[in-house]
């Protein structure tokens, strides 16, 4: 991610009141993860696997915190059961910032397949999401997603496309 995209994501997270972020490293997301790790406004939890992040964020939310996860789409796909049996079943919000792999401009064949499952899976799980197409839209997109997550007590996803990740 560019410095501009990282700053836009951080601006959105802070405007949304997010104070607890769980992350899993990935090359494109790493600049954002590094900024979150270094920013005292966030309690930062580095994860071993995305699925546990939903549990950790659920516990933090029950403790009064505003939570987000920063993960790639491959990690989101590992989270389907946890989303269904924890967040959706109990009605526990979490903001999901999800990097999209594949799509136009993808150079690496090993990343070309997962991305095409991401939106259909979110739709099948009835999880509201928005694809952020431009860096300039990122702060508002993050804020609006968190507003809905809190009011609906549901997971809501913001998908970061190649323009936001490059």
């Amino acid at each position: 991610m560019t410095d501009e995209a990282v700053a836009a994501a951080i601006e959105g997270l802070k405007a949304a009141g997010i104070d607890f972020v769980a992350t899993l490293p990935e090359a494109n997301l790493q600049p954002l993860v590094g900024c979150i790790a270094d920013d005292s406004a966030f309690t930062w939890v580095p994860l071993a696997r995305e699925e546990e992040g939903l549990g950790i964020c659920a516990g933090a939310w029950l403790g009064g915190r505003k939570t987000a996860m920063v993960i790639m789409d491959a990690g989101l796909l590992t989270c389907c059961t946890a989303l269904a049996t924890l967040n959706v079943l109990a009605g526990i919000p979490v903001l999901l910032l999800v990097g999209l792999s594949g799509g136009l401009g993808e150079k690496y064949w090993m990343h070309s397949e997962v991305g095409r499952f991401t939106e259909p899976v979110l739709r099948a799980m009835n999880i509201v999401y928005a694809v952020c197409e431009r860096v300039a839209d990122l702060p508002r997109c993050v804020l609006d997603a968190q507003t809905l997550a809190v009011s609906s007590k549901s997971p809501v996803a913001v998908i970061l496309n190649r323009e936001c990740l490059r």
Partner: protein
């Protein structure tokens, strides 16, 4: 030694100052029968009770958090032992009742029935303070210590299979459990969890 006997042994410790997270399965109903409280949250996502407890402990660092889990759930998500060890929450005590079977789902053997040592798994993952309970009294003392000393603490409690005869099901579902627990935390900690009521300009009758 049965799981419900150990829960009855720690019932005096389950006061209104403690937050407890349990996994799905017999432990959630046996806990409620041993000592009812609004301060229990059930993770119906198998394997995620420990992460939920970790999140609570990190969010509320001055509050003691107790996780009551099973061996099947531990094996399903044993990576969280490493995350607990890495984050080192001083206020988290993690108990695994180990009956060697998936008791709620057909009673097939878990890996602990094939020699995998849950305590060694915790120690190898980096959790420095760990215990193994061989009696109800020892278990009560280990939980007491875990709730008083700086942790995280892991307690491996081998138990015989079998539940509490005649026990009643929990009187609420996951959503009601969430609301009860969140209200309990709000009263206990003075924090806003649920974000209700609506803003005043939206909350008018009619």
């Amino acid at each position: 030694m049965k799981r419900h006997e150990l829960l009855q042994a720690i019932a005096p410790l389950l006061d209104e100052q403690l937050l407890v997270v349990t996994s799905v399965g017999g432990v959630r109903v046996e806990l409620y029968a041993a000592q009812p409280s609004e301060g229990y949250f059930v993770s119906y996502a198998m394997g995620l009770a420990a992460p939920v407890g970790l999140g609570l402990a990190l969010a509320l660092p001055l509050r003691q958090v107790l996780v009551l889990d099973g061996d099947g759930a531990l094996i399903m998500n044993s990576v969280s032992l490493t995350t607990i060890a890495a984050m080192r929450p001083p206020n988290l005590t993690y108990v695994v009742f180990d009956n060697g079977i998936y008791e709620s789902s057909g009673a097939g053997p878990t890996h602990t029935a094939r020699g995998i040592d849950a305590r060694a798994l915790a120690e190898g993952s980096g959790i420095e303070r760990s215990h193994r309970a061989t009696s109800a009294e020892q278990f009560r003392m280990q939980v007491t210590q875990g709730l008083r000393q700086s942790g995280p603490t892991f307690i491996h409690a081998p138990v015989e299979p079998g539940g509490w005869p005649g026990i009643q099901p929990l009187p609420y579902d996951a959503k009601e459990n969430k609301y009860r627990f969140a209200r309990f935390v709000e009263r206990l900690e003075g924090v806003d969890v649920l974000g209700l009521p609506l803003p005043a300009h939206l909350d008018r009758p009619g």
